[in-house]
Symmetry: C5
Subunit: 358 residues, 5 copies
């Protein structure tokens, strides 16, 4: 929860600044940012990793191939600014990159596309972290800006570029863009599977040993679903833009791939909705079960209590001190009373059994 708390609070510090002000909004980090550059075409590949932006940036841009610049840690505002100025990006784009509380979206700036997504990472106990990934797709360059520096889900893509596996080296930035988005959407399934595992666990717990913590787990998972929907829902609309292929940066050949991720996104949403419905049903079931169980206990106890009421009354009667109480004098009075009480108890048990109250 502490993360959420922070997440719900940061934005207003920028109130009153002119648009395009580069102020980092997000979790504070002490670690240094990292820049890595991969430039490739069908035949050649060059890789660099550097902590700061110096003068040699232009040299690595391959005019006929693709240059992918990946920045880990947007809290280092200077790197973002340097890159922004080098490529002449719009100030609002730069602002959105460092302001890491954006919703997923896509914006078409003519010469380049600006895409914002959320990179989800499963954490202990059904929790997941949500970091912003901003992407700028130009004709021969692609920039990715990651909020965090704890690694990403792109290693497989890098490997494919390096080993020239698949068509990735032969195609342009739009295919690279697809590969990266695909990697992110694929990683959503891990989060979903983690969540699904917990939901199935809680469901079993619900059947076998429902307790107070079951309620809290259901409630916790429902909250996770709320946050997950928020991260994923707007993505569908954004990817539908890519699928339509309205921008000249998107070749027709990759449209079918974007349709594929669109499909995956819809599947993610579908699963999220199913989880939500399942959790709602589980909450109902939990509440009814608990109430049923409670009722059963109370009924049992009340019924048992009921059996003792007339017995206690009877022994009270023969504890009275009236001078003239013939039964007390009778030699078998005590035994007779026990007989009466036993018959009475059995009769009541039979009656309650018949009524299905016991």
């Amino acid at each position: 929860m502490p993360t959420r708390q922070k997440f719900l609070k940061k934005r207003s510090i920028k109130s009153g600044m002119p648009p395009g002000s580069l102020v980092h909004i997000g979790e504070e980090r002490a670690e240094a940012a990292q820049i890595s550059i991969i430039a490739y075409d069908a035949t050649a590949l060059e890789e660099q990793s550097l902590p700061k932006i110096g003068k040699h940036l232009p040299s690595c841009i391959n005019p006929t191939g693709v240059t992918w610049i990946n920045v880990e840690g947007v809290h280092d505002v200077e790197i973002v600014r340097a890159l922004g100025e080098h490529f002449s990006f719009h100030p609002l784009v730069m602002e959105d990159i460092v302001n890491t509380v954006q919703r997923p979206k896509i914006e078409d700036y003519g010469e380049y596309l600006f895409i914002v997504m959320r990179m989800l990472r499963p954490q202990h106990e059904a929790d997941f972290s949500s970091e912003q990934l901003s992407m700028i797709v130009g004709p021969n360059y692609l920039l990715t800006f990651q909020e965090g520096i704890k690694g990403d889900v792109f290693d497989a893509v890098r490997e494919r570029i390096r080993t020239s596996k698949g068509k990735i080296r032969a195609l342009g930035t739009d295919y690279l863009c697809y590969s990266l988005i695909d990697a992110i959407v694929d990683s959503y399934f891990s989060v979903l599977e983690e969540l699904g595992e917990h939901i199935v666990d809680v469901e079993e717990e619900l059947t076998l040993t429902p307790g107070r913590e079951t309620l809290h787990r259901i409630s916790y998972l429902k909250k996770e679903i709320i946050f997950l929907r928020r991260a994923v829902w707007p993505l569908r609309e954004a990817i539908s833009f890519l699928e339509r292929g309205d921008s000249h940066l998107l070749s027709d050949a990759t449209r079918v791939y974007y349709r594929d991720i669109y499909d995956h996104t819809v599947q993610v949403m579908d699963t999220v909705e199913t989880y939500r419905d399942l959790l709602a049903g589980m909450l109902d079931l939990y509440l009814s079960s608990v109430s049923n169980r409670m009722n059963e206990i109370m009924k049992f106890l009340t019924v048992v209590g009921m059996i003792f009421l007339p017995l206690t009354f009877l022994v009270g009667v023969y504890g009275m001190n009236f001078k003239n109480m013939p039964e007390l004098e009778w030699h078998y009075g005590y035994y007779a009373l026990w007989a009466v009480m036993i018959v009475l108890s059995l009769g009541m048990v039979a009656f309650f059994r018949k009524k299905k109250w016991l």
Copy 2:
């Protein structure tokens, strides 16, 4: 539930692979896959059944007629790959066929249509299995890929082809495609009727002998409805594409048939929604009934208990050991007290009756 559990978990093993990687995602099976081929035109019919794809595949494709290739068991990835390469299908199509967690959908690849549906099969106790059926409709061929190998709902269609019943032999792949989809949608009605039967059962149980298991049955049926909606809902959109007939593979003559299945799909959805509403009403009714019944019992017991309270108090009074208690000395004291207690009890019963508490 174990199936569901698996169903919720498989997808991520493919993370990081390039698009078009043929990895089977779904239930593991030990049985061998089966291929069956039916090639026909208005006058001729040829049938073959083979366990592997060899060289003689091309020969059976009838350029003027229709060739229907049915694959049972997509876990044998090699068969899918061989067919895919033979017909030059897009890698993403091949990938979706072996990845059996797709949503129902239709995709137009120009030269062929790719259709994914769910084949539902009623199982014991209102449960149903859900297997993926992928279909590729080309100008003179139609391929169906079934996830499972336990038989399908197409026997009636095969019989019609063999006996040349109806117009099926005279028409092209679009009519065959219609016949197959129709068979699947028809089979949904069996699942619905099975479910409906259970719902009516549970409703009767609810009226006659509601118990804890009633709650679990309602809850179970609600869960079934959630999964059923998920399998059926996207189908409507897909079939609406076929009804519109935007592809050149669909002749105008079959449009009216597609409108018919569209209608059926809407009816399926309608019934699913009605079931959902009925189950929601049943849950409400169950909870209110149980709570009502519980309340009645508690009220009865409390009211009866209330009658004994003053009586027990009274016998307590005359069990006291005060030296000077005139009533105790009175010869008829004991009988008088009984009279008082009987009158008091009857008065209380009358009072509670009047108040409608008893």
Copy 3:
């Protein structure tokens, strides 16, 4: 409910048949079907009633006027087949006529329109029966197929044709079609008024004497509303097609009439929704009332029980057999204890009154 049960179950017997198979799906009936024909134009009128279709059917079709053929009882599949072949209707149309579980819909077949509606009939206790009415509207003929044979709501229309009241004799099949649909939609208001009456009854019952059967009545009415919505909701869309007048069979002059029935349909839906909202509110109110009333009783009883607790304790104290208990020896001990107990009881009553618990 038995009807519903059947209604939820029939469809699958047709699985595997080719499209256009004429198999009656619906309630079984022993009675013979009836055919009645009315042929008219502005000046002439001819009426016939016959139990079977023979050869003289063509002769009665009036090429310049309107021929209305009404079939009561579609379980006689042969009649439907004969008419279908005579007019060359599409096999799917014939199939939908005898398969009486269709949703309301309209289909434009170019030369004729095919309309399916539900004919509702109030029955005892807020229940209503729902029978399928299929209608085929051609340039100079109109066919109606009724599921049942217990009479219909068209008598007023027939009377208007016979007496040439209104414009009906002067206008074509589209106006006749309007008149028939209007009669059906008008009859929905009877069902609604019947339901409304019951809802108002239950509401009064809820205020005056809520009991267990109140809950069941509300629940029953809610179920009726679910089925009513299902019969009426799709009609709106169908009639909106007629209002738009896209078919050449619909003259501009009748469009304003179709707008009128569209209006009525919307009113029907509106009323159904209002009923649903009212019933939802009534269920909430019932549950809260019952729970409130229960709570009041339990509180009363518990509070009264509370008064006896210290009294019973006190008389217990003086029932002890200690050798040395000075109070027991005191001559006024017994009376003093009574005084104490009375004061204590009154004090507790006052306390509970003040707390508003009594």
Copy 4:
């Protein structure tokens, strides 16, 4: 409620009549209808009031100005018929005027517009009456038909016409129509404010002295909101037609005014929705409060009862008649027992306090 009851029941008496039949459907009234005519242009004004339609109607129509004919009491079907025939209105229009259960709507008949609205009037105790107002807007005439005869909300408009205040005398029927609709929509705010006042009252009652009648008041207000939505919701769509100005009867100059009423209608809907949300929240709060309060009482009583249980047991022990009970013989036994009981009680009170149960 009696009004509602009637309102829910009238419609079916017209079943089977041909379209355009003039049968009054609505509350029966004994009072005579009233006709009032105002004819004006920028310079002249003529006013008449008459109980019946005679021959002089045409003379008062001002071909260059505006003639507003207002009929109060549509139960006098003859007046409606006479006017309808004079202006040659469509029979369906006439029918809708006397059938006072229409939804708000607008219909464009080319030469004139037909508008139906609901005139709401606050009544005692948050109730409101809902009467139908039909309006026909022609090129130089405007007819209004009011269901009731208890006065209307148009006095201010009449006054403006008489005193030539604002632009009303200079503009045509579309501006008059606007002024009348505006007056009606403005009157909705009175109803809303009345309702709002009651909602705020009930909210205060809920905080200070919630009781059974609070529940009934909330439930009553919810029902009012259901009826209010039904009267207002369809109006938005109708006024949006006027705002779009598709008819030649609407000049461009008045479009901005219609946008203004559209705005007001949206505000009305907005407020209705807010009320609905507030009432839903209040119902939740009421139920939780009542249940909380009940629980507190029951807990208190049970805890107190718990203290007496061991005490009563103890005094029971020393009321036994065993021969050999050393404590009874001890001189200070009685006092010692009191000491034990007091310590025990205090201990239990402390324990329950610590557990926050007391």
Copy 5:
């Protein structure tokens, strides 16, 4: 709440007035209104502050630059009238400015745009005030009318104009308009953060020490969300108009900025919806927790009470006065009974423990 109460009640006082009547509707204020004027272009800047509108207004309008006239306090209707007449605004615009219960909206009057928004201001305890801000954007002037006079959120914009920071001095009224709307939408985040803080607080309270006031706090926050949605929801639609840039007053260069605020507005709505979902979950959790806790206590008490029932019965038995009760004569009878009672109690405790009732 008192503010809300007023807010729900004012509107009807204007019923019957002609359109364009300038009557202030809103909170009454004693303070004088204030007018401040800033006229600037890229090179020059002039500022004035005046309490009344005199003759020198025209002189300050800079035909080539931008003149921003800000009015604080629209209760001074004369100022609004003077400005309206000077610029020839439509009477309905003037009316909406002084009638401070408008929904957010945008209206295009050709020569100028009229925009209404709500200025939210956090107040003590999660409350916020909501004041109307009306804005009129012309080709070279921009007027803002604030309902209140307690300062605004525009100081940062003023500072940017004065210091010529950013592009604001170089661009026209559309950019100024953007800057002002941006400042308002930014201020919504403060309100949201304030609310979020309270929601997190209440959530912690819910986990640690849930009590009656928790319920009231949740209910209060839900009410705040209802009002917040009402203020923000319509804004999205209005800003989407600006983003589309349909008016000639909006240059293409600023469209990207409007897209930015559109984004922010969607984020605001998103957060509001998330809050709503969280609060709904919290209410559920609260109710279940309270009910769970209550049940635990009642169960504990009932179970403990159950242990004393047989014990009290037993001591009652040996308190009876039968002549012939052998146990009483037995020398160890008393001790034996104690032994029996202790064993019985322990047995019951063990039984209840096993059943998980204790």
